[in-house]
Symmetry: C2
Subunit: 263 residues, 2 copies
């Protein structure tokens, strides 16, 4: 059994496809870009693509599949978004119906898959630079919050930006901003540092998604645009069908973190 932290993205996908891997993917295939997956029918795919184009910071597009084709030809040639994720969520009219291990029973000729950049890419860069990532230290999910920042709407898709939070000292926050702005396809630089109420967040200890983390003396909360935004907005639009990865169970691409630098 190879150490899954040190394998390629293709190997993680192979294990997800074969059913050997059914759990979450953080820390696996280190150095390979992991992606959020959103699948919608063709009739609202234009709206969703436009929503992503209008809100690139929470919705950085890595690849979009052709309608009916499950292969992300740019991010992972030969891969299959129907089978290569460890666990999926299937929603009808905004309600979670099933958490399938593949999408073969759900796939249709009019479906379009979207792969969106994810915070793991910049978290790896932060850790390499010696900047702590508290929820990883505390072995929790990152805390996420709905904000008062309205996304630019597109057709049926509208709603607030969701942000993730990592506590840092001022010096660490400045270094983190410099590092993260090199990765626009992984949410880029923080959207806010310091004051939760400026974002409409009432209680930093009660995130809307994920787990609270400790903020230590001398630290302030640092907020990044979050890839949960497009999923939250898509669920709120209540489309007849919406398929996504299960949170934390990402699609691992063939792209390297360094491929996203400056892109």
């Amino acid at each position: 059994m190879p150490d899954l932290r040190r394998v390629t993205g293709a190997e993680v996908r192979r294990q997800a496809r074969s059913g050997e891997l059914t759990g979450p993917t953080p820390g696996l295939a280190l150095g390979y870009v992991q992606a959020n997956l959103v699948v919608v029918p063709r009739d609202i795919a234009f709206d969703f693509l436009l929503f992503c184009q209008r809100n690139t910071q929470p919705c950085p597009l890595l690849d979009v599949t052709d309608p009916g084709c499950p292969e992300p030809r740019y991010a992972a040639p030969g891969a299959d978004i129907c089978s290569d994720v460890p666990r999926y969520c299937a929603y009808r009219y905004g309600e979670l119906i099933e958490e399938p291990s593949d999408l073969f029973g759900w796939w249709r000729d009019d479906l379009v898959g979207f792969l969106l950049g994810c915070s793991f890419t910049f978290e790896n860069a932060l850790l390499k630079a010696g900047i702590p990532v508290r929820h990883i230290e505390q072995d929790r999910n990152v805390p996420m919050y709905r904000t008062n920042i309205a996304c630019r709407p597109a057709g049926v898709f509208k709603g607030p930006m969701v942000v993730s939070m990592r506590p840092l000292t001022s010096a660490q926050a400045e270094a983190a901003a410099r590092i993260c702005q090199r990765f626009p396809l992984a949410h880029g630089a923080p959207v806010h540092v310091g004051n939760p109420s400026a974002l409409g967040i009432a209680d930093i200890n009660r995130p809307d998604f994920g787990d609270p983390v400790e903020i230590r003396a001398g630290e302030e909360p640092v907020f990044w645009a979050c890839g949960v935004t497009p999923q939250a907005v898509a669920m709120q639009a209540r489309p007849s069908l919406l398929l996504t990865h299960k949170p934390g169970h990402m699609f691992v691409t063939d792209l390297r973190d360094s491929d996203l630098e400056g892109r």
Copy 2:
């Protein structure tokens, strides 16, 4: 009569709308971002948006209008893509039908407008840095060439990348690359320096579009992805209706060149 080089983008649009300005826009409203305009029906707008997403260097999206709405709310709130360009081209099934001064007679509820970044933005930056731009010196159109670089296709849209060429010394080319890579929404860094045949260009003195320019001793041709690419590809798809700006007669936005830096 104000000097149109020193007015705002809004003033250029006002003069285009009123019919005072019917000519080309290079050099007008210096510092404001000028844009290519492509308008297609909703049924192929997803394909065109996807084509742009897959080919960001020739097709950098500045703004996309809602179907049926002629206002580019991000790039120029309050503006009207039907009237604010000095001259348009209207194509049916790939054939040029008319060069109207407004689109009111052509507009439909299912049309979607795309504003794409343009080389004027980086040319202004080059000139500011003392790097010569030959076709401006020679008062010609920039020479443009079809290449052997295939764009990533999307639905009905496929075809080769078109590039523009400016002759520079090696030192100037290196400086230009550093400057232009700061403007990914204006085609970014050059795609090739030096060898036309590497791009499948048979004769550098016979461009496919625009005019030839002099290449002096010690200079080499420097090639950039060109905003004519999406127009060439859109014409080749022969859609039932395609509306564009007339070459050189651009939509001038409210965005400043500096707004595009690093974006």
